[in-house]
């Protein structure tokens, strides 16, 4: 049996369990909605303005920096697996690769993008 069939089975069973639990709760629980109960919770007062607030641009910057590093680690994993066989040359090459990435982080840092302004 292929390994990925097994992973697929895990996904299916992993979804069935919570779906089943929530469905049972939905069948057993009372359903008496009213307008007051359906209002958005906000410490007992009525919601002011739109609930979908604007988000801070800072989160966007962090997401961008994350994306760069996340993609790069995909390249680093194969490097790490074969490191024992490739010897010192591959180690130096990997270090140069990581240093280029850290230069990107330092650039972001010097630009003041990591400050929570």
């Amino acid at each position: 049996m292929s390994q990925w069939i097994y992973i697929g089975l895990f996904f299916i069973v992993g979804l069935i369990i919570p779906v089943g639990a929530i469905t049972v709760a939905w069948i057993l629980g009372p359903k008496k909605p009213n307008p007051i109960k359906k209002t958005t919770y906000e410490c007992g007062i009525e919601t002011v303005g739109d609930s979908w607030v604007q988000f801070k641009a800072q989160y966007y910057i962090f997401a961008l920096v994350f994306l760069v590093f996340d993609v790069e680690t995909v390249f680093l994993f194969p490097w790490a697996v074969k490191l024992g066989q490739l010897g010192l040359f591959a180690v130096v090459e990997g270090i140069i690769f990581i240093l280029i990435l850290i230069a990107g982080l330092v650039y972001t840092w010097r630009k003041g993008m990591l400050e929570w302004a």
Binding site: E42, S51, I98
Partner: protein, 397 residues
């Protein structure tokens, strides 16, 4: 092949005989057996999860000088089952204006993202779901579904607290994923494989002795990944009431809660697999598969206990401090450590084991010491800047 060494194989062979006896084709019988195995593992996990609720409540009460649940059953052991009945018969409210589809999918994904992690966990030499050769990457990918469920829950609830909590939580989770990835590369370098089974098999010497700093960074990043105190930005009770899961009630909230506890336990298990030898302990794993499972469950509980200890001891850190700590300290430190480990691994290759281990250990200590010195001198400069200016103000008075 005896039952004590490899119970899974014995059971699978027995079931295969029965199913093919019924006239099923062999492929269908294999898939059915796989399905039953997955169902068994996930059922045990859900049972464990119920038990974890009790453990968590008992431990937190001890930390806070209370007794905790002690009325329902001996030592309050039946309490979680009473909680489940309560969750099942509670009304499930949906706020008006919520995005219903996304709102309902989020708790299911939250639970699923934790359960599917166990597909690659090696419980004993021959008891494991699948021995994926990209196990470490699979963990990260499955964890990303958890991040997705949080932003889905926060966005769809039509609530400001939920949305702000989800933004913060996701920012923290994606940020701390970087040092976690960097420290996952260290066991990969040592074992020459991303498979968790190969990493466990390779640990004749626990990797924590080769890379103690790596183990520490992994633990810190894991706590942030879990969204637990001191990094519980997404929930922040005193600011956001409950954060991303504020509008959820009944079983849907239960899924978030149970998923969080099982996630913490799972990361205790990953910490044990990556740095503490997984199911290996003094050759016990060769005696019986059941002993191996007992060893890894014990190690996972120790990891889980340390995560709880940190949670109930430290207070919450402000979001800007937390992200600055990650991007300005932990990420550069993790990558420096990765480079040092890769270099030392190549330089020390072929040396005797005691020399290799002590060289690795000392290089870790040196990296930790230098980074602490840099952080200390930086904070001293910052403090002098602040204190110097206050002294000037006092002189004016």
């Amino acid at each position: 092949m005896s039952f004590w060494i490899d119970p899974l194989k014995v059971a699978a062979d027995w079931l295969l005989g029965i199913f093919t006896g019924w006239g099923l084709p062999e492929v269908a019988a294999q898939i059915l057996i796989g399905f039953l195995g997955v169902l068994l593992l996930i059922s045990v996990l859900m049972l464990l999860d119920i038990f974890l609720v009790w453990v968590e409540r008992k431990v937190v009460s001890r930390f806070q000088d209370r007794i905790g649940p002690n009325r329902v059953g001996p030592f309050g052991l039946i309490q979680p089952f009473a909680d489940i009945i309560k969750l099942l018969i509670k009304e499930d409210t949906t706020p008006g204006g919520a995005d219903k589809v996304v709102y309902n999918i989020a708790p299911m994904l939250s639970m699923m993202s934790v359960l599917i992690l166990w597909a690659v966990v090696p419980l004993a030499p021959r008891i494991l779901g699948v021995d994926l050769n990209v196990g470490a990457l699979y963990i990260i990918a499955a964890g990303a579904i958890g991040t997705l469920s949080i932003i889905m829950a926060g966005w769809s609830s039509n609530n400001k607290f939920a949305l702000i909590g989800a933004f913060r939580q996701v920012a923290v989770m994606v940020s701390f994923e970087i040092p976690m990835l960097a420290t996952l590369l260290i066991p990969t370098i040592f074992a020459g494989s991303m498979g968790l089974s190969a990493i466990t098999q390779d640990q004749n010497i626990w990797y924590v002795f080769l890379a103690p700093l790596g183990a520490l960074i992994f633990l810190i990043a894991a706590i942030a990944e879990l969204g637990r105190a001191p990094f519980d930005m997404g929930e922040a009770e005193s600011e956001l009431v409950s954060g991303y899961n504020i509008e959820y009630s009944g079983m849907k909230f239960g899924m978030f809660y149970a998923g969080e506890l099982l996630h913490a336990f799972t990361f205790g298990g990953f910490w044990a697999i990556m740095f503490f030898g997984g199911y290996r302990f003094l050759g016990l794993e060769q005696v019986s598969a059941f002993l191996a499972v007992a060893v890894i469950v014990f190690k996972a509980f120790v990891g889980y206990w340390i995560i709880m200890w940190v949670k109930y001891t430290l207070m919450r850190i402000r979001i800007d401090h937390m992200l600055a700590f990650n991007w300005k300290f932990l990420t550069p430190l993790a990558f420096t450590l990765l480079m040092v480990v890769a270099l030392m691994n190549a330089l020390l290759a072929g040396t005797p084991t005691w020399f290799y281990v002590s060289g690795m250990f000392l290089s870790n200590i040196v990296v930790a010491w230098i980074s602490i010195e840099i952080a200390r001198s930086y904070s001293r400069r910052e403090r002098e800047k602040v204190e110097g200016s206050t002294r000037v103000v006092e002189a004016h008075h």
